[in-house]
Symmetry: C2
Subunit: 504 residues, 2 copies
């Protein structure tokens, strides 16, 4: 008797185990491949729309493209108007109890086409690495026989139109292969992310009910450098400073006035040099106050399989800055970075003048423990301590004639940092989906160095957020020759299908 009931019990146990474990990846690799290839014309179309948020006319084209693409896929779209570019909300109500808010970003960093090795930054170029180690362009049509290491080069390839293409393709698979999420979907699309999403906080406040959800997932950013499946539980915030110093009212001939009229580039250099030491540590007292790494946190940070020798080799740097003693530690601290600097002209445009002004663009990455206003004040006070009259506008003649050192200091706090617990509902759910799909626990990042404008959601809507990064880390994000690795594009689709399929 006992023997005869054994198979049934085993079957019951197995069924129960499968149920508890959740659904395995619901489509075959062949089907995934087929949908991936079928999506390339859509992706190319999306990439070809210029998306520098400075140009609202171009942004409108992106908004319309999204309206059309999400409507086609059964979403109800509505614009959330702001002072500038709108946000776009796409809702799909499956009649479930819970709702997941998904954040996508459509705009890209500005382009300088002279630095791109292709016809145009907004014309997608398919490239493979030649025998000489250089990227060579191949006909777009070859993409139907793509290899994982081939890439598409175009502005926003990875940051972040790539994930938009992945998500739309995952929706197609779900629709046609009979996968239904057990939660409702709200997709919020941002068209001013690279500008720091200046209008997002107010829009979220004004539309709390419309955006109401149980959790937020963000499809943005690169996977861990090992390119293994990754989840990111926090991100640094960002504030920016524009600092301008002054020389003669208008540029002067450097012969006639060299040794006489003060040089604003020297002034600026001295100010910037006074802010950090040779190892890249901010020397302004109090800048790192409040941040401490417990032994528990240290364990989590050290579990990330960073290969720092490889990073250094790729960046071709002999030594790193010494804010932390390893990469994950460095990211837990606020940063102060000169992201741009200019005074007069260089190279073939150079002229022999004493410039009238010099300007530095600075970004400060924020962490949860630091008050942005406090950091900004520290920097501002430091400049005053160097003998400067610090103004928030261009100095007037009277000010210029009575103060030998004047700086214009303008700042903006774009958004704060956020950090979600590893064992939150959203965290556990996503870890499950990825583990089942890729057969291993994802790499878990406590804090991403980069910033995403998530704090309005986290604070105003009071929901936890986790980022699901998909793209290759060496994508030249924010730089010329941005790209996406096609293997990552397909894996991204796979990841999103897994999340749509995973019971919440």
């Amino acid at each position: 008797m006992i023997h005869s009931r054994a198979p049934i019990i085993c079957l019951l146990i197995l069924t129960f185990a499968l149920e508890a474990y959740g659904q395995k990846f619901p489509v075959s690799e062949a089907i995934l491949e087929q949908y991936t290839k079928a999506s390339f014309p859509m992706l190319r179309e999306l990439y070809s729309i210029p998306n520098d948020a400075f140009y609202l006319e171009d942004i409108e084209k992106n908004v319309q493209w999204c309206e059309s693409s999400f409507s086609k896929r059964g979403f109800k779209t509505s614009r959330i108007e702001t002072k500038r570019a709108p946000l776009l909300l796409a809702e799909r109500d499956y009649g479930k109890k819970k709702t997941v808010l998904v954040y996508l970003q459509l705009d890209g960093q500005p382009v300088d086409s002279t630095r791109w090795f292709q016809e145009h930054p907004f014309k997608p170029a398919l490239k493979r690495k030649g025998d000489n180690g250089l990227w060579e362009e191949i006909p777009w049509e070859s993409i139907q026989n793509y290899e994982d290491d081939w890439r598409i080069f175009v502005r926003a390839a990875s940051d972040a139109k790539g994930p938009v293409g992945m998500f739309l393709t995952a929706m197609d698979i779900a629709e046609k292969e009979g996968i239904e999420p057990n939660y409702n979907l709200k997709i919020i699309m941002d068209f001013e992310e690279e500008m720091g999403s200046p209008n997002l906080p107010e829009a979220v406040k004004k539309n709390k009910d419309l955006l109401k959800a149980d959790m937020l997932i963000i499809f943005d950013g690169p996977r861990h450098i090992t390119n293994r499946p990754t989840l990111t539980f926090g991100a640094r915030g960002i504030a920016t400073i524009q600092l301008t110093t002054y020389g003669p009212l208008v540029a002067q001939h450097s012969g006639h006035f060299g040794n006489y009229a003060p040089n604003p580039a020297l002034r600026l250099s001295k100010l910037l040099a006074s802010m950090k030491d040779d190892e890249g540590r901010v020397t302004i007292p109090g800048f790192y106050d409040g941040v401490s790494i417990s032994s528990e946190v240290e364990k989590i940070l050290k579990a990330v399989p960073d290969n720092e020798a490889q990073i250094k080799d790729r960046l071709q740097i002999a030594e790193t800055d010494q804010v932390g003693s390893y990469y994950q530690e460095a990211i837990q601290y606020p940063s102060l970075n000169i992201r741009g600097m200019q005074s007069a002209w260089i190279d073939e445009e150079v002229r022999t003048i004493i410039p009238a002004w010099a300007r530095a663009e600075i970004d400060i990455r924020l962490v949860k423990e630091t008050d942005p206003e406090r950091l900004i004040s520290l920097v501002k006070n430091h400049i005053q301590d160097q003998g400067y009259l610090v103004l928030d506008s261009v100095p007037r003649k009277g000010q210029r004639l009575t103060n030998s050192k004047i700086a214009t200091f303008q700042h903006e706090i774009s958004y704060q940092s956020f950090r979600t617990d590893f064992d939150s509902d959203v965290g556990l759910w996503l870890r499950r989906a990825l583990k089942k799909t890729f057969g291993e626990e994802p790499i878990m990042i406590r804090m991403s160095g980069g910033s995403i404008p998530i704090s309005p959601f986290v604070t105003t809507l009071d929901i936890p957020a986790v980022t699901v990064p998909t793209v290759n880390r060496d994508n030249n994000q924010h730089s010329p020759n941005e790209n996406i690795r096609l293997g990552n594009y397909r894996d991204g689709i796979k990841t999103m299908v897994a999340i749509l399929n995973e019971k919440l």
Copy 2:
């Protein structure tokens, strides 16, 4: 008897005195005015030819214009070919014993049309100061009723097509009003001056006989700031340095790598800051060695009626650099000036990256006492002393991976300084011509701060040189909105007629 011969003796004395004194200004103010006005169409035509020496096609148009304009006025022209733009020589042999070489410059500094307040930097704009103190454009035709304080705004207005126009007009007056110099003329025209006349030294060496002359006069540069007639007996030389520092191989996202990848703009700032003190004095030991101001020289320098309060007011600076304790003293020393600086982008083009490199363009103004090679070495050694591997080209991967601080240092010594005695033949002759014409001794400048590529003539041809400046000092030379004051244009013609008329 005695009485009766007195008138004759007086007449003889008077005649002798007049002879000794030389010829007074040979034409009336009305005639001068008439020729000045008649010259404006020619001047406008000359100004309208783009003349950035970077564009050889444009330069060729300037060369042809000069060939035609000088041929028309009885000169024999010939091109002196170089590796790049030619020099043009225009000779007029009056069958006299002595020959005066005249140096003219035709090319202009590069233009950034976005910073000019007119249709185009190469389209001459006639402007007068409005009641609001701003320059307002008026129809070109109004120039026939010009007032002295009106100006023409155009690239090379003052530096140095203005003097070319003056000289051609002075030649017209000489020709038609019967003035013949008692010396032969050789006019040498330079079309690459703003590039540092890289091909001039060799061309002078190769054409020593062709250029043979007794003295050199240079029609270039602005008068003393009082706008009184001025002669300049020397000029600083110039050498340039381009300095580049490195961060990650390609620009990196400042979030992902802020606190980790070294920032090249910080590196550059620290280097530049280490070269000079807050008062603009070079802190590299030995930089000012060899320069000393004797009490006799000090007397000459202090005789120049500089109004430093006015200079400061115009430049809108509270304090000047402290290399010298007054303007003329400052100019006797070599200078080290940051003439341009850039890393990544600013303003609307800013992006949140750690830049891949930062670059400073430096010019060093040379004086007679300083060996340019020595100064360059001092700066280079200083950078090495800050822990840098200093290269003359872009670093290779192996170098980048083994040296945390790398700088690319490229330099060029354009030309040396020169200085002529106040009591040389050429000096006395020009002082005479100006004194008689303007009724006062000209202001005599020992050294001009700016550089002119005269050392090849002075050293290779072994002739003394004096500069005759004519244009207004506030001409925005080398900057956007360059201009010439029309009163200075007419006075410049007058000066040149006086020199053509003055017996050598």
